[in-house]
């Protein structure tokens, strides 16, 4: 178990390199096997993980550039553990669902490379290492959207790449500046995040650095008004690209908020609380309204992602255990649900080569099993109790209720809007009479699609009914992060605020 984390990070890379040699016919089977082994590895990690320990576990360190404080530093805690499992799981599922024939070898290898970068982002404890994986993850996605997409795929791929790359440019300056501050304070260079947690920064510095990091994360999430690349990328991306983009890549931004922004700049985070919360509320409401206006099923789900990410941001900036734990849980549930929904859109797109709602109607009679699964996932997306979507949304909003009940109420109404557009989508496509002639002969789900979707549906229900084992593990590490914030807070206002939101019944 010594090197399990580097194994998890680099196994897909090495397997991907082996993939170059494998026969074209067998490469998909190979990809699924690799992803399955990788998923098992992450499950082994979960089993071996000690839930009573809130610190980093399975830590690995080897110096890369000791003179400059850069090291190969991996570790896992409750915050990252489940995101790693989500990444490996969704990669596996998306490979099972894969039915692209064109250049399949390149695609499978690219997906495996992407998996490495995703897992690497969540496991890095060194800021430079994190930045490496963060940037590297753009390349496979660029290729997936650009080569296997539809319509204006090249434009969409470049827009996605440039947007996120430019967004994280300032973060690099922020990282190096923070490294220098650490050097000034201690006399040694270090980019290790646990080291940085010990560094108390002056308030003004915090503000600037918070801004530099915020831009990078906000583009990735994507937060309003930096969200314009997302619907475009989803619109052109192939199904597998959309699944991985929505299920895992967007979580990189929100994860980074919890890992970096809050504990590194506690005062600035509290200072910027309301602007961020207002942006998040706008995301929730605005994206829901835009989603309602869409004609394309995939665009509806793309905008609903933005809406859900808004609630995740609110949960994070509640800065209490409920909010942050809820937001992490919501990241997982949104990963599962949006991934599954994109897969379902892919299913219907493969049959009809259109994603427009107006082309469908009455699908429930033609494809009953498809309609049933879509129905379950839709309920989860809406956040119905006893589905996975409910737990996270409820906890996030509950957490933010302590900060401001007004914003919580407004954002909560976004959930109602969510129900509106999802139900409309469902009604238009599945109910009523079968109008179009082509729709009468549509085949229901086949075995491959079933195999990919059933685990997702099962998770939606199981985690919706009994989320506790996951929540307690997350909660341990979240509390530790909040303690770090409290310890590092400089301003009395910040301390007061953190005390207020973290004690039951408000300030005593």
């Amino acid at each position: 178990m010594e090197h399990i984390l580097s194994l998890i990070v680099f196994f897909p890379l090495i397997a991907g390199i082996f993939g170059f040699v494998i026969n074209k016919e067998n490469v998909k089977t190979f990809g699924i096997s690799v992803a399955f082994v990788e998923f098992l590895l992450s499950i082994v990690l979960w089993i071996a993980y000690d839930p009573t320990n809130s610190g980093y576990q399975f830590v690995e360190y080897s110096a890369l550039i000791p003179q400059f404080g850069v090291g190969f530093y991996l570790g896992v805690d409750g915050i990252s553990l489940f995101l790693v499992i989500l990444s490996t799981f969704m990669t596996l599922v998306s490979l099972v669902a894969l039915n692209i024939k064109k250049d399949i070898k390149n695609l499978v290898i690219t997906i495996l490379f992407l998996e490495m970068t995703l897992v690497g982002v969540f496991l890095s404890l060194d800021m430079i290492l994190f930045y490496i994986f963060w940037e590297l993850s753009l390349i496979p996605m660029l290729y997936i959207i650009g080569a296997w997409g539809s319509g204006q795929r090249i434009y969409a791929a470049i827009k996605f790449f440039l947007y996120t790359f430019a967004g994280s440019a300032l973060m690099l300056v922020g990282i190096l500046y923070l490294g220098y501050q650490y050097y000034l304070a201690t006399g040694t260079w270090s980019f290790a995040i646990p080291d940085w947690y010990l560094l108390v920064l002056p308030f003004n510095t915090q503000l600037w650095l918070f801004g530099a990091f915020f831009l990078a994360f906000a583009v990735k999430v994507p937060m309003f008004p930096f969200h314009t690349w997302l619907p475009y990328a989803h619109g052109q991306a192939p199904t597998v690209g959309s699944i991985l983009l929505a299920a895992v890549m967007l979580k990189m931004g929100t994860y980074a908020f919890i890992r970096f922004s809050l504990p590194l700049f506690p005062d600035a985070s509290v200072y910027f609380l309301y602007p961020v919360a207002i942006i998040a509320t706008i995301m929730v409401i605005y994206a829901a309204m835009v989603a309602y206006a869409q004609k394309d099923i995939k665009q509806v789900i793309a905008y609903s992602s933005i809406s859900h990410m808004g609630i995740i941001i609110l949960g994070i900036f509640a800065m209490n255990a409920e909010g942050i734990t809820g937001s992490i849980f919501l990241m997982l549930s949104h990963g599962i649900v949006s991934g599954a929904l994109f897969m379902l859109v892919g299913v219907i797109y493969d049959r009809r080569h259109t994603k427009l709602m107006s082309e469908f109607g009455g699908l429930a009679t033609v494809m009953p099993r498809y309609a049933a699964i879509f129905g379950v996932l839709m309920m989860a997306a809406v956040g119905l109790p006893l589905t996975v979507g409910f737990v996270g949304e409820f906890l996030s909003l509950l957490g933010f209720y302590r900060v401001s009940w007004e914003i919580t109420v407004i954002a909560g109404s976004g959930i109602i809007l969510g129900a509106v557009y999802m139900l409309t989508l469902y009604r238009k496509s599945f109910f009523g009479k079968v109008v179009k002639e082509e729709n009468k002969t549509l085949k229901d789900l086949d075995k491959r699609e079933f195999a990919a979707l059933i685990p997702l549906v099962a998770l939606v229900v199981i985690l919706g009914v009994y989320p506790k084992p996951i929540l307690t593990t997350i909660d341990m590490s979240v509390r530790k992060t909040i303690q770090t914030m409290e310890r590092k807070a400089l301003l009395p206002d910040t301390k007061k605020f953190l005390l207020k939101v973290n004690s039951i019944g408000g300030t005593k």
């Binding site: 290729y143 791929a157 440039l162 790359f165 430019a166 440019a169 300032l170 300056v173 190096l176 500046y177």
Partner: protein, 495 residues
């Protein structure tokens, strides 16, 4: 009656001259051998040249600086050894590319190799001294040899490039002479060390003349470093010369120029003269921004790479402005990493050289030529893409580490705004590097025949690509050893 001058040979410290002497001997030897037998193959010439470069390298490692020699004119310090190392390694990588699959006239001539060796000697002299006259001699020896090397490629474009480079180079030489003249008039010395002492003791007065000296020097070095506004020759000359030579030109003359620039501007930076810093910042920002924006609209990969190399020079110029051990180490770290990647990238173009122009006649390597390359030559396309991403500073490949250390040194000196401009520039730059990748990976192929992309390939050239690729991809592992050696040497030479 003059008094006889007696000099003990030991005081000359001739050891400092051995590296250059070895190469000069090698160059003469090549010409002599060519006199006796006419039936020599290019493989002989290349290996012979390589042998002397190797001898030169061992002689260089044998030196232990810092020491002076030859009436104090030669200066062997850590920085000059580093620069000579870079020059020799890139020369070795470059000369092997002559062993291409397709025959070229220039590689059959002994003069080509002799000139090449003389050029290296020139650059070595240029970095191994702080005497303005010797710098000038080294610069001109090297440049004249280089003009001829370009012209030997024997195409109309190559002649044009050589003449253009020659004319511009002559102008630069004039500027350099003017700068030396002014500095000599001001201080009565042509040694940078003495000039520095005199100027500092006088508080850099008279200001106008010092300014004139700095500006002339900057223009002269600017031509070699291709700093805006003296960069205009670069794309045309690169386009006209053979691809590996263009790659070589983007590395070796620049490192020689950079060393002179570091030595020269150190005089002004140590005493915190504000306007020198301002000029350097202004030129650095102008160079990287303008080059990056111009590169966006290029239609030819080689021209794009030419502008990219201008932008890289602008990047490094910021470190000269910062000064100090970290910044100067960053320059060399950056340049060592950049050397491997850039030579690799230009070698890829060299491999893809094909007589048949399937893609219009204006350019040799237009972007459209590489459309859909991944379908017909997947390995080549992947390698090329790695080199492009590396040049763009994508982590974790080599140039990223140089960029990281360089930007860090800029931030540490308090120029955060400049650092922001630098990262914004690298965000602009990624677009044009990505353009080639988009053509290679996302567009449909223009040809079924993958051989047009490897027409000029041969085992030695593949080896070169392999070596440069290894240093590009595995950079994370040996940034540390390179950095510690570089820092050690820079520290020992007092920068």
């Amino acid at each position: 009656m003059l008094n006889p001058i007696s000099i003990k040979i030991a005081t000359l410290n001739l050891a400092t001259l051995t590296p250059m002497a070895i190469l000069a001997f090698g160059a003469l030897a090549i010409i002599c051998i060519d006199l006796f037998t006419k039936r020599l193959d290019k493989s002989f010439f290349v290996m012979f040249t390589l042998l002397f470069i190797f001898l030169d390298f061992t002689a260089l490692i044998g030196l232990n600086g810092p020491s002076r020699g030859f009436f104090g004119v030669m200066l062997v310090d850590g920085m000059s050894m580093l620069a000579q190392g870079i020059i020799l390694i890139s020369s070795a990588l470059f000369i092997i590319t002559a062993l291409s699959n397709k025959p070229f006239k220039e590689f059959k001539k002994a003069e080509y190799y002799a000139l090449f060796l003389f050029m290296i000697v020139g650059f070595q002299f240029m970095v191994a001294t702080d005497n303005l006259i010797l710098i000038f001699i080294g610069l001109e020896t090297a440049s004249l040899a280089l003009y001829t090397l370009i012209a030997l490629h024997n195409r109309n474009k190559a002649f044009e490039a050589a003449i253009k480079y020659f004319t511009m180079g002559a102008l630069a030489a004039g500027f350099f002479a003017m700068a030396s003249l002014i500095l000599y008039a001001l201080t009565g010395s042509i040694e940078l060390g003495v000039i520095s002492k005199v100027l500092v003791s006088r508080g850099f007065a008279p200001g106008a003349f010092t300014l004139a000296g700095v500006v002339f020097m900057l223009m002269a070095l600017g031509f070699k470093l291709s700093i805006v506004p003296t960069h205009t020759w670069t794309p045309d000359v690169y386009e006209g010369s053979s691809a590996p030579l263009a790659g070589y030109m983007s590395v070796v003359p620049k490192i020689a120029g950079l060393v002179v620039a570091i030595r020269f501007f150190d005089i002004f930076l140590s005493s915190q003269i504000q306007w020198v810093q301002d000029i350097l910042i202004f030129l650095a920002v102008l160079t990287m921004t303008l080059a990056n924006i111009t590169a966006l609209v290029q239609e030819d990969v080689k021209r794009m790479l030419a502008f990219s190399s201008i932008a890289h020079a602008g990047f490094v110029l910021t470190a000269i402005m910062v000064g100090g051990t970290q910044a100067n180490s960053a320059i060399f770290l950056y340049w060592i990493l950049f050397m491997f990647t850039n030579i690799g990238a230009f070698t890829m173009l060299w491999i893809a050289r094909h007589k048949k122009n399937l893609w219009g006649s204006r350019y040799q390597h237009p972007f459209t030529k590489f459309s859909g390359m991944v379908k017909v030559a997947p390995m080549m396309a992947t390698l090329f893409a790695i080199f492009m991403f590396t040049l763009a500073g994508m982590p974790p490949f080599s140039v990223f580490w140089g960029k990281l250390y360089l930007i860090s040194s800029v931030i540490n000196s308090g120029h955060v705004v400049l650092a922001v401009i630098m990262v914004i520039n690298s965000a602009i730059a990624i677009y044009y590097y990505m353009k080639l990748i988009v053509y290679m990976f996302l567009k449909d192929p223009i040809t079924e025949d993958g051989n047009i992309y490897i027409a000029n390939s041969s085992t030695p050239i593949k080896t070169i690509v392999g070596i440069t690729l290894f240093f590009t991809v595995a950079a994370s592992i040996f940034v540390q050893p390179i950095l510690s050696v570089v820092t050690e040497l820079i520290k020992s030479s007092g920068y």
